[in-house]
C-alpha cells in the first residue's frame, strides 16, 4: 500500500528534479507565460548573455499595457506604454517565443487566454510573473506567480527552486443559493481567514459546491487564492474540466488525448491524504458579498453595515479600520446599500469570461446604468463570442462602453483609470489603495452585483432586482 497522497503532492512530485540539502526542490516548469512587465527579466538574461532554455514552452502575451480603445500600436499616444508592448514583441521575436500580441485574434488576459487556448492542462506546473497565475489551478495544475528574478531563472533554465508549501483543504459543502457565485465564496473565506490567512499553504478546493461549479467559476475561485495569501489554489480535474479542454487549440488530440486523459483521471487527493489544515464552509451561508475597505479581507454580505472602529477593542485594529474608512470616504454604521457609486468596471482575469458577461448582461438588459462604466472582455475570443450573442448591445444600450480586451482598469497601466476620489464598483480582485488609480476607491463584487450597482447607482443586492 502506498501512502495516501494529496493532489498537490502528486503534481509536485512529478516535477521534482532534485532536492537540495536544505530541502528546497528544483522543479521542472511546463508552461511559462511572459507579459510586458517581464522586461526586467529579459534584461537580466541579456546582461548575462543567456539564451531562453525552452522557447517552445514559453508564451508571450500582451495584456497589462494594451489599449482598450484600439488594436493599433501606432494609435497609442503614450510613447512609454507603446514601448512596453514593442519591447515584449522584440524580446519574444529575438528568442523565438510564440507571441499573442496586440492584434492577434487570440489575444487576451494571460489567465483567460491560457485556459481558452488549451495551454492550461491538468497536472502541469505553470508560472508567470503575475500573482494571479493561481487562476490556472482550476484545472488541477500547480500554478503560481513569481517575481522578475525567478522569471529570469525560468527563462534561463526552465526550472525553479521552491520550498514545498503546507496543504490546506477548503471544503464548501451543500448548494449555493441562486445568484451566489465563486466571487462570493472567495470574498467570504478571505474575510474570515484574513488576507494572509492562507499564507504558506497550497489550497485544494473541495466539496459538493465546488464540484458543481462551471470551469469559468472555478477559474474565478482559484484566481482569488492569492488574495487570501495562498501560494496557489487547485481543484481536482473531473468531467467538467475534460469537457472544457477537449478540442481546444493546444489540447492533445486522438491517441495523445487518451493517454493524457488516463493520467489526468489519477489526479485527485487519495482518501485519507493528510492536510495540514482543514477549513469548511456551508454553501447555504454564503451571501452576495462586497468589499468596503482597502484589502480583500475587508468584505461583508451586502445586507451588512460599514464597521465601527469604536466597537473594536484592539487599538491597532481600530486604527486600521479608521484608516480604511477614511480612505474609502465611508461613515461607521452606514448601510452598504446606501453607498453611492460613481462608475463601474466589468473586466479582469477574475471576472471577464463569457459566463461573467452573460451574468452582468442578464441584470442590465432593459435597464440604464445610472453611472458611466467600461466593459472589457477577458480575451478577444470572449469579445467575439459575446458579440455573437448580442451582449455588446445590452451593455451599450445600458450606457456602458464596450471595449477591447486587456487588464484595463484592473490596474490602470494602459491609462484606463478611476479618477481620484471616485468610487467604482468593480469585478476585479484588488481594492488596494490606488490600485485603480491614485485616490480611487474600489468595491469588489461579482459581475451581477456590479450590474445591479450600475442600475441602482449605489451598492445593491442583486437578489432584490
Amino acid at each position: 500500500m502506498t501512502t495516501p497522497t494529496t493532489l498537490f503532492d502528486k503534481v509536485w512530485d512529478a516535477h521534482e528534479i532534485l532536492r537540495s540539502e536544505s530541502g528546497q526542490s528544483l522543479l521542472w516548469i511546463d508552461r511559462h507565460f511572459v507579459h510586458e512587465g517581464s522586461f526586467h527579466a529579459f534584461n537580466k538574461l541579456h546582461e548575462r548573455q543567456l539564451a531562453v532554455a525552452r522557447p517552445d514552452q514559453t508564451f508571450g502575451i500582451a495584456d497589462h499595457y494594451v489599449p482598450t480603445l484600439t488594436r493599433r500600436l501606432d494609435a497609442i499616444e503614450d510613447a512609454k506604454v507603446r514601448g512596453m508592448i514593442e519591447q515584449l514583441a522584440d524580446n519574444t521575436r529575438r528568442h523565438g517565443i510564440t507571441l499573442f500580441g496586440l492584434d492577434d485574434p487570440r489575444q487576451g488576459i494571460v489567465h483567460v487566454l491560457g485556459p481558452e487556448q488549451g495551454l492550461t492542462q491538468p497536472g502541469l506546473l505553470m508560472v508567470c510573473g503575475d500573482s494571479h497565475t493561481s487562476t490556472h489551478g482550476a484545472f488541477g495544475c500547480i500554478a503560481f506567480g513569481i517575481g522578475a528574478s525567478e522569471v529570469a531563472h525560468v527563462l534561463a533554465t526552465q526550472t525553479l527552486w521552491q520550498s514545498r508549501p503546507k496543504k490546506m483543504r477548503l471544503t464548501v459543502e451543500g448548494e449555493l443559493a441562486p445568484g451566489i457565485t465563486a466571487k462570493d465564496i472567495a470574498l467570504t473565506w478571505i474575510s474570515r481567514l484574513g488576507a494572509d490567512g492562507a499564507r504558506g499553504y497550497a489550497i485544494e478546493y473541495a466539496g459538493s459546491a465546488i464540484r458543481s461549479l462551471s470551469m469559468e467559476a472555478r477559474l474565478t475561485l482559484c484566481n482569488l487564492s492569492i488574495e487570501g495569501g495562498a501560494r496557489c489554489g487547485m481543484i481536482a480535474p473531473d468531467d467538467t474540466t475534460f469537457d472544457y479542454l477537449r478540442g481546444r487549440p493546444f489540447a492533445p488530440e486522438g491517441e495523445p488525448w487518451e493517454q493524457a486523459l488516463a493520467y489526468w483521471q489519477t489526479l485527485k487527493s487519495d482518501d485519507g491524504a493528510h492536510f495540514d489544515r482543514e477549513v469548511t464552509l456551508t454553501a447555504a451561508d454564503i451571501a452576495p458579498t462586497v468589499t468596503w475597505g482597502v484589502s480583500p479581507e475587508e468584505a461583508l454580505p451586502i445586507d451588512g453595515r460599514v464597521p465601527d472602529p469604536a466597537a473594536q477593542h484592539e487599538v491597532g485594529k481600530a486604527r486600521q479600520l479608521r484608516d480604511s474608512l477614511d480612505y474609502m470616504g465611508l461613515t461607521p454604521g452606514q448601510k452598504l446599500t446606501d453607498i453611492a457609486i460613481d462608475r463601474v468596471f466589468i473586466g479582469s482575469c477574475t471576472n471577464a469570461r463569457l459566463e461573467d458577461l452573460r451574468a452582468a448582461a442578464a441584470v442590465l438588459r432593459g435597464h440604464r446604468s445610472k453611472v458611466p462604466g467600461i466593459v472589457s472582455p477577458g480575451s478577444t475570443q470572449v469579445k467575439y463570442q459575446a458579440e455573437a450573442e448580442g451582449l455588446d448591445t445590452v451593455f451599450i444600450e445600458a450606457g456602458l462602453e464596450w471595449r477591447e480586451s486587456g487588464c484595463s482598469m484592473c490596474v490602470g497601466m494602459n491609462g484606463d483609470l478611476v479618477p481620484a476620489g471616485e468610487r467604482c464598483a468593480s469585478t476585479t480582485n484588488r481594492n488596494f489603495k490606488g490600485r485603480q488609480g491614485p485616490g480611487a476607491r474600489t468595491h469588489l463584487m461579482s459581475p451581477a452585483m456590479v450590474a445591479a450597482a450600475a442600475v441602482a447607482g449605489r451598492l445593491a443586492d442583486v437578489r432584490e432586482l
Partner: protein
C-alpha cells in the same frame, strides 16, 4: 549580490498593516528602466499628497530616513502583486531588511533574490519594536547569523527560511547554483518528455473554438 551578516543602522517605523506592493510602488512607475533608480517611487502615494507635495509627518520624509537600512512594519507586508519593482524601490532607497509579522509569499522570495532580508517576528515583538522606535528613525541591529534584532534594551528573535538565510549570508545567486545541475536537469527533461508525450505545444488550429 552583497552578503548580509549584520545590519547595524537606522530603522524606520512604519506602523501599518497590509502594505501591499501596489502601495510600495504604484503601477504607473513600472514602465521606467531600473537605471533611473526606483528609490524615489517607494511608497510614493503615501509620501506625497494629491498635489505631489511631501506629507510632512510621513516617516520616509523624515530628514534621517535616507540613512535607514531597516523598515519595521505590521502584518501582511508586501501582499498582492508579484511586481519585483516593489523590492527594487526598497533596495534602491537603501533598505536591506524589512521586519514584519508576515509577508506576502512572492514578495519575500523576490526580496531574497535582491539581497533584502525579510525578517519575520511575532505580532507582539513587532509591536514592541515599533514602540521602541517611536516615531522617528532610530538605531536597530539585525544579526542574521544569530537571528536577533536589538533596539536599546530590547532584543527579539526572528524567523527566516534556512535556505534563504544561507543565500543571504553568502550573497548567492540562483542561476549560478542551478546551472551546476545541468546534467540532472537534462536527464529529467528527457525522461519527462517521454512519459508525457501529449505535452508538445503545436496548436492543432489557430483560433479557439466558438
Amino acid at each position: 549580490m552583497e552578503p548580509i551578516k549584520i545590519i547595524d543602522a537606522l530603522a524606520c517605523p512604519l506602523p501599518l498593516a497590509n502594505v501591499d506592493t501596489d502601495q510600495l510602488i504604484p503601477a504607473r512607475f513600472m514602465k521606467e528602466p531600473r537605471s533611473v533608480g526606483y528609490g524615489r517611487f517607494l511608497l510614493h502615494d503615501l509620501r506625497h499628497d494629491g498635489e505631489g507635495r511631501p506629507v510632512a509627518d510621513f516617516i520616509l520624509n523624515h530628514p534621517q530616513a535616507a540613512q535607514a537600512k531597516t523598515l519595521v512594519a505590521r502584518r501582511n507586508f508586501g501582499a498582492g502583486s508579484s511586481r519585483e519593482a516593489a523590492v527594487y524601490a526598497l533596495v534602491d532607497y537603501g533598505f536591506r531588511c524589512v521586519v514584519a509579522p508576515s509577508f506576502g509569499d512572492i514578495f519575500a522570495s523576490n526580496s531574497v533574490n535582491n539581497g533584502l532580508l525579510p525578517a519575520t517576528v511575532s505580532e507582539e515583538d513587532a509591536e514592541a519594536l515599533l514602540a521602541a522606535l517611536g516615531d522617528a528613525p532610530a538605531v536597530l541591529n539585525v544579526d542574521l547569523e544569530s537571528q536577533h534584532i536589538t533596539v536599546g534594551e530590547l532584543s527579539v528573535t526572528f524567523d527566516i527560511t534556512p535556505t534563504w538565510r544561507t543565500k543571504l549570508l553568502n550573497g548567492w545567486d540562483d542561476i549560478d547554483m542551478t546551472r551546476q545541475h545541468a546534467v540532472e536537469i537534462e536527464r529529467f527533461a528527457t525522461r519527462y518528455a517521454s512519459s508525457c508525450p501529449w505535452l508538445a505545444t503545436e496548436p492543432s488550429q489557430l483560433i479557439a473554438r466558438g
